[in-house]
Symmetry: D2
Subunit: 341 residues, 4 copies
C-alpha cells in the first residue's frame, strides 16, 4: 500500500486520476490539490465520486511528503511547480506537456515559451509502456505522452519499427471537448462547441513533436474538434516503401502488440466496428490500433483510438505506476468500456 497525492486535481485528468486511484487496491490517496477549490469536497468538482470519498482539496503549498506525486497541472504550470515540490516524494509522474520533449528548443517551438527547467528534461522516462516498459521498471520520474501523441505513436510504431512506410506521414487527429480541460470561454460553451467539425490546428499540432521523437517519422499533424466529450482518434496516411499486402501488415501489428494488455489490433473485414473508435473505449485504458492497405498496396493507413482522459492521461499514469511498483499491469484498470454509449 502506497500513498499518492495529486497536484492539480480539480481538472478532468485530475478527476480521472482520483477515480482510478480510489478504485486501486494498492493505493491510498493522500492529498488532492486545487488552489481555486481548496477546502471544498472533491466531489463538488467530480460528482461521479459522490459516496466514493470524503476528501477535500488542499493547497499545493500544504502538500505533505508522500510516496508518489502525480502532476495533473496544465502545461507551463508543472515546470514552475515541480522544482519546489520535487522533495516531497521520491517518485513523480507528470501528465502535462512540460517534460515530454527531450529538447528545450523543441519545447519552445511547440509551446511558445522557453522551458524554465531545461536541465530536468532528460530526467524523465516516457510513460508509454508499449515502447518504454523496461525503462519504466526503475524510473522515478515519468512523463506521460499527450493523448493524440499516444494514439499516433501506438498506431505508427509497428510500421516505423518494421521500416515499411516512407517517413513522411500525415496524421489527422479528432478529439472531443474534454481535451481542452475545464474550459470556460465562449468557444467552449455548449452552444458553440456542440456539433462542430472545428479544425483548431490545421498544421503543426504540438503532439507531432512527440510522435516524431518516438517513431522517427517525419509526421505532420492536423487536429479537429468533433462532437464528443471524450475520445481521440488518429488516422495516419503513409506511402509504403514497397508494395505490401494486408496479411503482411496484419502480421506486423499482431506481433508487435502480442501480449500487450491495453492494445488491441482492430482491423476487420465487416461490421460497423471494423476499425478503432473511441466510442467503445470511454472510461477504459485500451488503445485500439488498426490499419488498412490501399487496393494497389502502395499506401497505408494506420489508425488508433483511445479515451484521452484514460489511456491518453490518467490511465496511462496508473499503468506506469503499476509497472514501476511491480504490480500486475491491469490493476485498477479493469473497466472494459461500455457499449452502446
Amino acid at each position: 500500500m502506497i500513498k499518492v497525492s495529486v497536484v492539480g486535481a480539480s481538472g478532468y485528468v485530475g478527476g480521472e486520476l482520483l477515480r482510478l486511484l480510489l478504485g486501486h487496491p494498492e493505493v491510498t490517496i493522500g492529498q488532492a490539490t486545487s488552489e481555486r477549490l481548496r477546502g471544498r469536497r472533491v466531489d463538488t468538482a467530480h460528482p461521479n465520486l459522490r459516496g466514493q470519498t470524503d476528501l477535500r482539496f488542499s493547497s499545493a503549498a500544504d502538500l505533505a511528503s508522500t510516496d508518489v506525486l502525480l502532476f495533473a497541472t496544465p502545461h507551463r504550470v508543472t515546470m514552475g511547480l515541480l522544482p519546489d515540490l520535487v522533495a516531497r516524494a521520491p517518485m513523480l509522474i507528470d501528465l502535462s506537456g512540460d517534460f515530454r520533449l527531450h529538447e528545450a528548443g523543441e519545447y519552445e517551438r511547440y509551446y511558445g515559451v522557453p522551458h524554465s527547467a531545461p536541465k530536468l528534461l532528460g530526467e524523465f522516462a516516457s510513460g508509454c509502456p508499449e515502447l518504454t516498459r523496461k525503462a519504466l521498471r526503475d524510473a522515478d520520474w515519468i512523463s506521460v505522452p499527450g493523448c493524440m501523441a499516444m494514439a499516433a505513436i501506438l498506431a505508427l510504431t509497428p510500421l516505423a519499427a518494421a521500416g515499411i512506410a516512407e517517413p513522411e506521414v500525415q496524421i489527422s487527429a479528432l478529439t472531443g471537448s474534454s481535451g481542452s480541460g475545464r474550459a470556460e470561454g465562449l468557444a467552449s460553451s455548449h452552444a458553440e462547441r456542440s456539433g462542430v467539425m472545428r479544425v483548431f490546428a490545421p498544421t503543426g499540432h504540438r503532439h507531432e513533436a512527440e510522435v516524431r521523437q518516438h517513431t522517427g517519422l517525419a509526421v505532420s499533424m492536423t487536429a479537429t474538434g468533433v462532437e464528443a466529450v471524450r475520445g481521440v482518434q488518429v488516422v495516419c496516411q503513409a506511402r509504403a516503401r514497397s508494395v505490401v499486402s494486408d496479411l503482411e501488415i496484419r502480421a506486423v501489428y499482431r506481433e508487435r502488440y502480442a501480449g500487450e494488455p491495453f492494445v488491441r489490433v482492430v482491423a476487420q473485414r465487416r461490421g460497423s466496428h471494423r476499425y478503432p473508435d473511441p466510442k467503445i473505449l470511454l472510461g477504459s485504458n485500451f488503445c485500439d490500433v488498426g490499419f488498412a492497405v490501399a487496393a494497389d498496396g502502395g499506401r497505408l493507413t494506420a489508425m488508433a483510438a483511445l479515451d484521452n482522459l484514460v489511456k491518453g492521461g490518467a490511465g496511462a499514469a496508473v499503468q506506469c505506476l503499476n509497472i514501476r511498483m511491480g504490480w500486475p499491469e491491469r490493476r485498477g484498470l479493469e473497466f472494459p468500456g461500455l457499449h452502446p454509449l
Copy 2:
C-alpha cells in the same frame, strides 16, 4: 421600407433578429448595438451572416432615431435601458422578460428583483399573435413571451378556452442550451452541458407566471435542459373535466388554430413524427401543437414544440412586426425547417 435597430444584438436572439431582418424585404437594419463588441463586425459574433452584411456593432449610447427598436437585451437590462431609449423610435418590441407580466409583484416574485419601471408594465401588448393579433395591429409597444411560455400557452389555450381541462396543469419543459444565451461559465461548457438531463427549475420556473396570465390555468412548471442547442418542448398534463374523446379534442385544436400561419396541429396515429418535436422546426417560425387523451378519457396531455430563438424569440418579434405594419404575416419567415437535422 422601414428602418429598425436592434439593442443587444450580440446575443443569440439578437443574432436571429439580424438573420431574419436581413432577409426581410420590407426592412433595413439601422444599427445593432453591443457594448462589448462595439466597432466589430456583426459576423464575428454571428458567423452565419458572413457575406450577408458588413454591419458593425455600435454602442446603445450612439443609437440614432429609427422606426422600430428591438430589444434583445437580457432580463433586468431592458427595464434599465428602455426609459432612456424610448424616444428614439415610435415603436418598440422587447424580447426580454421585463415587460411580459402585468403585475410588478409577480415580476419581483419570479425575477427576484423589484421592477424598476412598473408604470410601463401595462403599456405593452403581448406578442403572441395567436391570442392577441387584434391588439397587435395598432400596438406601438410589444413584449414577446418567453420561449417555454409561448409553447405552453399555445399548447394549452384550446383546452383552456373550451373549458375542457381542470385548472391544475403540470408542465414539463425541455430546452436546449441556447436558451441560456451566450453563456461562458463552467456549467455551460460543452463537456459539462453535453448529454445532460439537467433539471434547472424543479418547481416554479418563471415562465409559469406567463402561462397562468394568458390561460387562466393554475399551472406549475418544471424545466430540464437536454442535449440540444436549440429547441423547446412542453408536455402538459391535465385532468379532463368530463370524459373526452380524441375526436372531440382534435376538433377543438383544429378549430382553434385553423388559418394560423405558424401553428400546426400534430397528433398522428403512427410514425415517428406523431407529436410536436423541435428537431424539425429549427430555424422556422412554426410552433407545432399536439394532444393525446388517456385510454379512459379522463386525462389529457397537451404538447408543443418550437425553436426557442425563432417562434420563441426573434421570429415571434418579426411576426408581430408584420402584423403591426399590415404586411403578410409570413413575410421574412418562410423558412420551413430542415429534415433530417
Copy 3:
C-alpha cells in the same frame, strides 16, 4: 463460484449482463444465447468485450443446466420461453416486462396481449432491492422492474411511505435510445433519432402500472425520447398533503435511503449537479434521487436518474443475485461512473 447463463444475450441488456458478469469474481458464464447470432463470438455484438472473453452465442435450444438463468429476452418472448427453460436452473432472473405485474389483466391492458403464463405471475419476487431486499434473500424467481419504473419507484417511495404527497402524481420520463433495444427501423436510425425530443408515450406509459403497484400512488406517466444513448430521468410532480418544508422532505429521503449502497440523495442548493442526472451515472449501478419543494410548500417535485441498462436492467439483476447469494451487495458493481462524459 456459480455458473450463470444468459438467454437473449445479443441485445443491449444482454451485453451489459455479460460485461458485469465477466467482471464478477463469484460468477462464471456458462452460455449466452442468441438465435440470430448463434455460433458467432459475443464480441461481434458487444465490441467492448474484445479481449475479455472468447465466448460464442449458442441457441436457447442447447442450453445446459446451470445455477442461474438470466432472461434478457424481449417482452412477450420471455413468457413463451420460460416454461420450457424453467427446469434448466434452480434460479431465474427475468429482465423483461413479462413478470413484473401481479395481475394478468393489468398485463394485457399495458402490453396489448393476454399473458400466456398467468399462473406464474405470483411466483416472482420484485427485483427492486430498496423495497424488497428481505424477500430477495430467498427468492428463486426474480423479476427486475422496468428502467423508468425503477427510477420513479425510487423517487416516489419516500413520499408515498411517509404519506406526504397527494396520491395523484404526474411523471415525465426522459430516455435515451438504447431503451428501445437493438432497433433497426427507420425511426431508430441516427439521422431520425438524433437530437429529438420525441414523445412516444403521451399518456399511459406501461411502466406507470409498475409504479402504481409498488407505491400505491395514482401515477400517470408520459415518456419522451431525448438525445442520449443511455440514461433515464423522471420528474414527478405532486401536491403536498399539507404545507411542507425542504428540511422535512430532506430528512424523509435521507432516512429512507440511509445505508442503501446504490441510492444517493442529490438535492443541492448550488452548482450544475444539483439534481439527479444520468450523465454522471452511465455504466454505474447508482440511482440518484432528489426532490424540491415549491416556494409555497404546497407542491413537491421528486426526481431520479439512472443508467437504463445498469440500475434499470443488468445491474439491478446482479444486485439481486448478490443479495440472493449472500454476497456483498456491491460485488461486481463498483464502477462509479465517469465525469465528464
Copy 4:
C-alpha cells in the same frame, strides 16, 4: 415558370430538393416519385414540409413529361432508370454517382459494378458551377458531384490551378449520418452510430476519383463518420512546391473565388470560427473554403465544409438549374444558415 419532377423523392436528398423547389419562385413541382411510398403524402417522409405542400408520391412508371427531371435515386439505380426516362424531359439533373466519372473503368473500380450505360457518361456536364459554369449555361444533362468530392474540389482547386502544391495530396473527410441516406440497418441505428469516430473508408473512398478528375492531383482520401446528421468537412494536406507564405496563398484563394455567390474564404487568425465548419452552414448552399501554411512554409492544409444535402446535393442541383435557365444564381438558395445550432 417551369415544371420539374423528382425521381427518388423519398430519400434525404430528394426531400431537400422538394424543400428548395417549393421555395423557388420560378419552379412548380410536377411529380415526386417513390415506389415504396407511392400514394402517400410527401410530408409523411419529410415532416418539415407539413403545410408547404399536399403533394403525394407517385411511381416512376407514371411520370408525365415535364421540363426538368431530377434524379435523387441511389447509385446504380439511376443508370438503370435513366435510359427509360430520358424521353420524359428535355433536361436532366442526376444527383447520384452514376454519371460523375468520365470513364467506365473508373466507375467499375470505385462502384464495384460495370457501368450499364457507358455511352452516356460523356453526355453529362459536371454540376460544379465554380469550375464549369460556362458549360452549364447550355447543358441539358448535368451530373452533380458527390458531397465530399465537392468539398475537396473546392478546397484544392485554387492550389491545383496555381500549381503551388505537389500533386500528392492526402484528404481526410468527415461526414454526418445523413450521408448514407435513409438507412435502416443496425450500424445506422442511433445507439450504434451516435458519438462515433467511425472510419468507413480508410483508403480509396470513391469520391477521390472525382477529385482527381477535376483537379488533376494524385489524391488519396479517407472518410470517417462523426457525430452529426448533416455536414461534411475535408482537411487536405499537401507539400508546397516551393516555400510559400500565408499572404500568397490567401491571395490565390481570394482571387479564385472572388464573385462566387456560394464560396466564402474562411481563414482567420483568431476566434472559434477561424476555419470552415459545417455547423454554421446547415441548410445553406455555402461551401466555406480555407487554408493554412505550416510555420516553415513547406506544407499546406486546404479545408472545406458544406451541408452534404445542400451544396453537396440538392442545393448544387438548384444552383445548376438557375445557371442553365439564366436565373439569378442565388434564387431559391438564400437561406444563410443558423448559428448557433
